[in-house]
Symmetry: C2
Subunit: 205 residues, 2 copies
Amino acid sequence: MSLAHKGLPFDRNRVSFKEIPKLENGYSAKVPIIRDEDKLIADSFAIALYLEDRYPDRPSLFKGEGGRAMARFVEGWSQMIIHPFINVVILMPVHDLLDTPNQAYFRESREKIFGRTLEDVAATRDAKREAFTASLEPIRKTLLSQPFIGGESPLFADYIVFGAFQWVRVLTSYKLFDAGDPVQDWFERCLDLHGGVAREIKAAA
Amino acid sequence: MSLAHKGLPFDRNRVSFKEIPKLENGYSAKVPIIRDEDKLIADSFAIALYLEDRYPDRPSLFKGEGGRAMARFVEGWSQMIIHPFINVVILMPVHDLLDTPNQAYFRESREKIFGRTLEDVAATRDAKREAFTASLEPIRKTLLSQPFIGGESPLFADYIVFGAFQWVRVLTSYKLFDAGDPVQDWFERCLDLHGGVAREIKAAA
């Protein structure tokens, strides 16, 4: 989304979990990684900062110093509030689409993090949904004043939250939002951005 | 804090709850209200926006369009996460310092909001503290990258959160933060801002 926001052309490469540590000669243990000519950058926020500084004449991802600083707050909020629930929702769907060696890696590494079996973690999903829905209230409050977290148009802060919801859309048929939730409307607006680049990736059936 | 940030001189007026609806010929049912020459503005966020647009050459409260937009997110987060707990913490201290007519007004209006007695609400304080402490994680994550929510220096978003904690400092001796919490360090930095204007208001014993 940050690359599309900047209007930069890019190729995407599909990789499996076990291939990640070998990418770009072991540059990073995690994706995303981008290569811009001979420059490598890993981590979504670092990538956004790099793109902003490298391509200052293209549409801004932060719109000023204040936006750059507060995107960190949105990132922290997203990591604390959005990711734990999203990780539960996508856990078995991710597992199920992997091949056998990647399934083994995924199960071992995730069960170590959670301290429980994947199945036990996934079983908490429906019980956690109501608290998750309530926790989106800061987005709803923001959307009372403006169509995007970034204001009249989206900024990197929108993509931080959008990316987590996109995982769910692409990997599962689970309904994250209740009918009429303004967060769903915002999510649909994000899917329409930049020529619908995020909608090109098909939703799971 | 917004006035001090802009370096504008101001007088403060102490008012009781029951006087608020009479202020400035009934201009607003709630404080804060500011008068700038013949212009009246109520609501902290509206005041910050007014000051930013009226005094653009003084230090910015938002540092750009992105900061202005995302301050709405911090406001929504603060209203949802910070205010409910702070309201519980300050409930009886506020009640106890009021005179009899204001106590009656306060009890009636607050018990209507809570649907319970003031005493029942206040009794939930200690049980709620641990979840409150955990909920501050987005601030802690932000402070890993920068000393203020606004970045290298504070912005209105800092004052949104600071204001709620300042109520507790001024009204109670309750310890909001655990020892060594980076949020406490940030709060102390805020108290030092603008010549220590917020520290001038004495902490409760």
